[in-house]
Symmetry: C2
Amino acid sequence: MTTPVPLREPTFLILTALAREPMHGYGIVTEVAALSDGRLTLRPGTLYGALDRLTDEGLVEPDREEIVGGRLRRYYRLTDTGTAVLAAETERLRRNVEAASQRLRARTARASDGSAARPAPAVRPAVRLAGGPA
Amino acid sequence: MTTPVPLREPTFLILTALAREPMHGYGIVTEVAALSDGRLTLRPGTLYGALDRLTDEGLVEPDREEIVGGRLRRYYRLTDTGTAVLAAETERLRRNVEAASQRLRARTARASDGSAARPAPAVRPAVRLAGGPA
DNA sequence: CCGTTATAGCTCGGTAGCCGATATACTTCG
DNA sequence: CGAAGTATATCGGCTACCGAGCTATAACGG
């Protein structure tokens, strides 16, 4: 069954969205956009591909189907396994964040005192990233 | 130049390893193993592929070469851009961790009081993950 | 009345990072 | 002398993700 362990960001956020309550596909898209401050918009290919995969792996499962305003809503729910995996992944990420933060802090400190042998960046948090602003 | 934004875990840890001080390939492997508590062992294909890619993208750059005990050591150094990207990625992960933690906590709380309409998992943190224990 | 937007579902091909295996070479140890 | 450890690098395959496109209904605007 090989639950794929380093969850990629989209997958991680899908599970996170479902942790609160069962949701349908389109709802997940808007929820993920919200909890990532609009930084990540799930593509249909990513969403439904991930949903199928996660269902196969037993991390999520179909919850129910509703018809609201003539449109079908297919709800998914986080399983116990899914909850456990999400918790484990969150811990892993927390450790990574901590390790990186510590090293970055040390780097900044080094840049502050006179010991900077190198240009020593001011560590500006504003970078232009891929798929950035228009 | 499209700096690839959601850094995968191996890439993230390579940058983290280099944040402290310039290191050579093999040193990065051991360092990453250390700061991930042995959970992740970088494969050569991953390491050198990533190093080439990150060099092209300007996140790391060659630092110096040494010959220690007849063996070549090629050192890499984190650039200013690399530092900024690592910082930005760390922030992104921190937010994701926070969002997931919050939802997981809410879920546990719901399971504790009597309001559990669903089986309500005990949220066991022990999962068998891919490439799990021997 | 018709076109556009929003909601809601799904499919398919291409891209690219990671894994696993493999190769080379030098040093040290048994 | 061979095995293990250090240190570099390449190549093929897997697969998650992206991007684009498709269908359908409801609601709004011209």
